[in-house]
Each structure stands twice: as structure tokens, then as C-alpha cells.
């Protein structure tokens, strides 16, 4: 038996756009979009990064308690999420700001969880995007169950493009060690469910390198469960879009799950509380900066023609997005503990309502009558 490692390059990496913006072909992936499609993906990437940078700054200014930046992972998120159809369901992680952007969640709705004004932020059914799970890996089982529901509903494999649906679930490389994740993959394979597992392998789980989570490239996990796995350059939005489109199609047609390993890099800290200099060496980050997911799209677009006007307009749009986001953050309503009592159950619990009453009465005493 030959020896492999998590970072072995004996498994093909699907790439359609090189780091310097050259368009290349790959036998396992096709991308046939137009220049407008490219511009649209570029816009998603740039605006996702702007949301991320603004939120990071808001945390630094004390407006958010925490922020997990997605810088560097925008292509893995945007490329795969753009392959979703409206009727598909997505389950992103706490770092999936690009997925939320693509699903149409207003960016300010991402902030509440990190500002501490809410535990949620949006209605999952409105955007077909679940709330991010903070418990690592938990969402993979939810995605699998949702996919089971789609199958039971007959919303898979009918051949009707507006009806057939699939589920895409995002997780990190660290998450692949959780029992929940392995159970989800086993379950999804057993029932041949329409779920696409997207592992954003950003090489770290906080400080722990991916080599501690696996002895083989993560994509190889799929073999053992019995469904296809594909390893893609996670900083290449075209390749991500192409492999995700194919995997979702396969799922919607009723042929079961796929594992996509998007090889990417967390260019920033794990969260605003983290200091990556404690566990990352030397030039690693510089090497990845040269593989920036946005730069290569921009370089490619420039090769195709003069897009300076579009780029300038996008810059303005990003500026405005930042202004709006800052304003929306400051305007977020403060949470009222009294409201928390009302959302524990569908059917009110009288005992809990009594506690609510006691709390409100106590508060009004403390504040001299203004509850």
C-alpha cells in the first residue's frame, strides 16, 4: 500500500482558471458561460469580500462581538452556490458569507448573530438557506434529512427542471473528523440521497492543520462511502461552479450524493479572536495570496476585453454596500430578554410564561416602573 497524505497531489485538482488568469480545460469539468456570466461571478466575489471586510472592521470597532472572515474562500462559496437553483436547499457554515450572499440573504442579516442581537438572522425557508450551525458538522445530518424529505416528496429524478431539487451542505476540513459528518455521508450513500457535500478545505481548523484530520486527501473519503468525490481548486470560481453544477445535476436526477473537496485557504484569522501567527509558518500565506480567487478572474476578464468601466462601477457599488452595512449594523434593534420567553415553544409553556412575568415585573421594579 502506498502512503498518502492530506495534501498529496496524486489526486487530480480540477482547475479551469490558473492563478494568473489563463483559461485552461479539464476533462472532468466544463464551463461554458459568457463574459457576462464571468462579470457576474466577479461581482459576487468582490461584494462578498466587501461584506467580509466591512464586518471585520465593524468587529474591530466594537460593533460585533466576533467575526469569522471568509477571505480567500469566496470562490469556493460563490462558485458552488451559484450552481444552486432556487428550489435547492443549502446549509452553510458560520463562515459561509459568500453562500449567504448568493442565496440573497441581505448582508446585514448575517451580522446579528455576531453582534449578539439574535441567534438567527433570517427565515431559512425564505432563502432556502439554513441558519449556520456553530456546532461543527451538525448541519451535514440536517442536510441529509432534508434531502431525504425531497426524495420522499418525489422532488428528485422527475426530469422536471423546475421541480427536481437537491441539497448542498458546506463544511470545513476540521468538520470531516466529526462523527456526525461521517454518519451523514454513510446515511446519504445508503439512501442514495440528493445531497452534495462541499468540504471547504482551507487547511486549518483554528490552529490545527488538515494533516491532523486525515491521512489521505479528503476527497478520498467518498470512495469508502461509495459515491463520487471530486477535488477542485477552491480558489477557481469557474471550476467550483462547473463541478458543483454537475454534482447537483446528478443529485437532482436521483443518482445520489457527491463529495466536493474545494482546496482553498483561509487568508485571514479563524475569527477576530484568533492570532494565526502563533501556528502558521513563514511564507505560506504569501504563497496563497498569489492564488487569490478574485485576482485571477479579474486578470482573465482583462484578457477578454476592457472592463474598466464595469470594474469602476463595481467599486462604487462595493463602497455603497459598505456604507449601508455600517448603517444597518448600528440600527439593529437590541434584543429584549422578554421576547426570548416567547420563542422557546410553539405552544406556550405556562410555567415559562410565569417566569417571563416575574422577569418583566422585576425589571420594571428595577427601572422604577418603566418595563
Amino acid at each position: 500500500m502506498h502512503h498518502e497524505s492530506a495534501t498529496a497531489n496524486n489526486v487530480q485538482l480540477v482547475q479551469l482558471l490558473t492563478p494568473d488568469g489563463q483559461r485552461v480545460e479539464h476533462p472532468d469539468a466544463a464551463w461554458t458561460g459568457s463574459t457576462d456570466d464571468l462579470l457576474a461571478l466577479h461581482r459576487d466575489l468582490v461584494l462578498t469580500r466587501r461584506v467580509d471586510t466591512e464586518a471585520f472592521a465593524l468587529q474591530r470597532h466594537g460593533e460585533l462581538g466576533l467575526w469569522p472572515p471568509c477571505k480567500g474562500q469566496e470562490a469556493a462559496q460563490v462558485g458552488t452556490a451559484r450552481a444552486l437553483r432556487p428550489q435547492d436547499m443549502a446549509f452553510a457554515s458560520y463562515r459561509g458569507h459568500g453562500v449567504a450572499w448568493v442565496r440573497g440573504v441581505p448582508p446585514e442579516n448575517l451580522l446579528g448573530m455576531y453582534r449578539g442581537t439574535t441567534l438567527g438572522g433570517w427565515d431559512p425557508a425564505e432563502f432556502n438557506l439554513a441558519l449556520p450551525a456553530i456546532i461543527i458538522g451538525a448541519q451535514t445530518l440536517h442536510a441529509t434529512g432534508y434531502a431525504m424529505g425531497l426524495t420522499l416528496d418525489g422532488a428528485v429524478g422527475t426530469g422536471d427542471a423546475d421541480r427536481d431539487a437537491a441539497v448542498m451542505v458546506y463544511l470545513g476540513d476540521g468538520a470531516t473528523s466529526q462523527g456526525d459528518v461521517l454518519e451523514a455521508m454513510s446515511w446519504a450513500a445508503s439512501f442514495s440521497l440528493p445531497v452534495v457535500f462541499v468540504v471547504e478545505n482551507n487547511h486549518y481548523a483554528i490552529s490545527v492543520p488538515v494533516t491532523r484530520q486525515t491521512a489521505v486527501p479528503l476527497v478520498r473519503r467518498a470512495d469508502g462511502f461509495g459515491f463520487p468525490g471530486i477535488r477542485v481548486d477552491g480558489n477557481d470560481v469557474l471550476a467550483c461552479h462547473a463541478v458543483a453544477t454537475a454534482a447537483l445535476e446528478r443529485a437532482r436526477e436521483g443518482h445520489g450524493p457527491t463529495l466536493i473537496e474545494a482546496v482553498t485557504y483561509r487568508m485571514g484569522a479563524h475569527t477576530t479572536s484568533d492570532d494565526p501567527t502563533r501556528y502558521r509558518d513563514g511564507t505560506e500565506s504569501d504563497d496563497w495570496a498569489a492564488r487569490d480567487p478574485i485576482d485571477r478572474v479579474r486578470a482573465h476578464l482583462q484578457q477578454l476585453g476592457d472592463h474598466s468601466a464595469a470594474f469602476a462601477a463595481l467599486e462604487d457599488e462595493a463602497e455603497q454596500l459598505g456604507v449601508d452595512l455600517r448603517a444597518a449594523c448600528a440600527a439593529m434593534p437590541e434584543p429584549d430578554l422578554a421576547d426570548q420567553f416567547d420563542r422557546v415553544f410553539v405552544d406556550p409553556d405556562p410555567d415559562l410564561q410565569r417566569q417571563r412575568g416575574d422577569y418583566v415585573a422585576w425589571r420594571s421594579l428595577e427601572t422604577g416602573g418603566v418595563a
Binding site: G65, S177, Q355, Y359
Partner: protein
Amino acid sequence: MTRRMSIAAAINAGLRAALESDDHVMLMGEDIGRLGGVFRVTEGLQKDFGERRVLDTPLAESAIVGTAVGLAMRGYRPVVEIQFDGFVYPAYDQLVNQVARLHHRSSGQVRMPLVIRIPYGGGIGAVEHHSESPEAQFVMTPGLKVVAPATAHDAFWMIQQAIASDDPVVVMEPKRRYWESGEVGDTPEPLHASQVRREGQAATLVTYGPMVRTCLDAAEAAATEGVELEVVDLRSLSPLDLGPVVDSVRSTGRCVVVHEAQRTLGLGAEIAARVSEECFVHLEAPVRRVTGYDLPYPPSRAEDEFLPGVDRILDAVDSTTDDSVYAGGES
């Protein structure tokens, strides 16, 4: 000779002492090695004791505790870190069904000298699952011991005593107090003994962990109005040492239990039951509980309202001395 240090530094020093004195002691957890833990409690230990004894584990809590069981069977003394309170649940099955039972099941042939360290509790402005107080779930599990140091002195000694224990010990660490400093003396108290932290005659505050400081603050505030409160720090939640509580309540006649954890079936319920059994004729008022409400932990900008604070504690004390409020159930 005493040394002044933070609670985090005291645990670090205690872990270091344990690693030095017994080479079967090993630390396991997420990010505890190179990073030194997300709270830096294990800072420098991997550097000094090596990667075989201070392990950065895969991201899998059930595996961390489950493999610790096997390591313990092989003669090791694993000290496991659960990064935050809310992440202990993936390991709950191993803790409750395996760790807690093997000694009993094997008629004493298998020992489980495990320590499970859990930074717990709220008040740090964190996102969901980072502010939980799950201690009662371990206290109600036969076969687990549970301790909750509140001072730097106890943090230093109790972690070592827990490691030296041949029984599994869950150490609930008061994360919001990690950076508060205190004197660490030369002599430990017994691991499973509660302690009077402040003497007083008006009423007894019974508490543990991060709420010890809050109760002492409340007692300080009460003292400025001439009301002297006795504060008992339970220190050990399982087994409970209620001797000092009973003695205190027999003299004050009033008892208020304070914890961050939700009220229903929290430690306060057990203590109220035992105090009413043992102090019934001495009680001048029903035992009161000042706790988190029976809610999932709220968004952080509402946590100050959720967590017991000085005002709620003093109101509860007042309610034990004021006949007119006996009827109300809440403090």
C-alpha cells in the same frame, strides 16, 4: 509562600505540575498544543512536554473522550479539554455511558482516572454554544465527580487533585473569571469540600464557580447597608459537601442559591431540597434560587439580563426577610 496569578495561569501551573510529577499524565484537546488553547490555558505545555503528552486532537469531541477511555485502560491519565461548554454534547454519550460506568460495571477492576476540563458559563459576549452551564447534567450522572474552582488557589490545586484522583472528574472552569487574579497558597483544601468565603448572620448565599465573585460582590454591597451575608462556595458539585451550608443556614435561617445555569433541576433544586430536609425547623423563609431563566442561552446583548447579578441576588435576599413577598415564586 504565596504567588499571585490569574485563574488561567493557575490552571496552567497546575497542569504543568501534574505533567512533571507523573509521566502518565497527558493533555488532549482541540488547539491546546501549538496554540496553547483558545484561552491560552495550556500555553507553553506542548513546547515543554512534547507532542506525545500534549496532543492537538482531530476535531471530534466524542473521539477525544472515547479515546481517553482507552488510554486510561492502558494506564494513562488523560486530561481532556473541551474547548467550550456547548461542545461537550458530542462527547456526552461517551461520558455518560462509558466514562461514568466502567468502574462500577467492572466491579472496580477498571479505573477511569480521566479529567474533563470544561471552560463554562456566560458573561463574555460570545456567540451561541459558548456560554452554557451544563454542570447539572454531569452532577445527575452517577459515576462522575464534578468540581468548580472559583479562585486561583483552588484552580491550581483542584486541577492537580482531579488528575490525581482515580475517579473521573469533570472540572468546570469559570471562563469569565480566567483573567482574574488571586493568591495561590501552599496548601490545598480537600477536593470535595465546600468552604465559607465570607461570614455573616443575615442570610446564606450558596454558590460556586463564576458566581462566587458575584455573590461576594453582593455581600459587599449588602454590608454597606449593615446586612452581613454568609457566602458558601460549594467547590465540589458532586459529591456535594453540604455540611457548611447546613451549619450556616441553621444559624441564618435564610438561604439563597445562586447559579448561572437554568433554574429547573439545576443545582439549586437539589440544594433547596436538602436544605429543607436538614434545616426545616431553622428556616425563616423558603429557600430562594437566583439562576438563569429556563431559556436557551440568549443572544449576548441580552445576557446581562439573563445572568444573576448583584441586584437580583439582593432582591432575593430581601425576599427571605420580607414577609410580604413570600407569596411570589420568583426572585
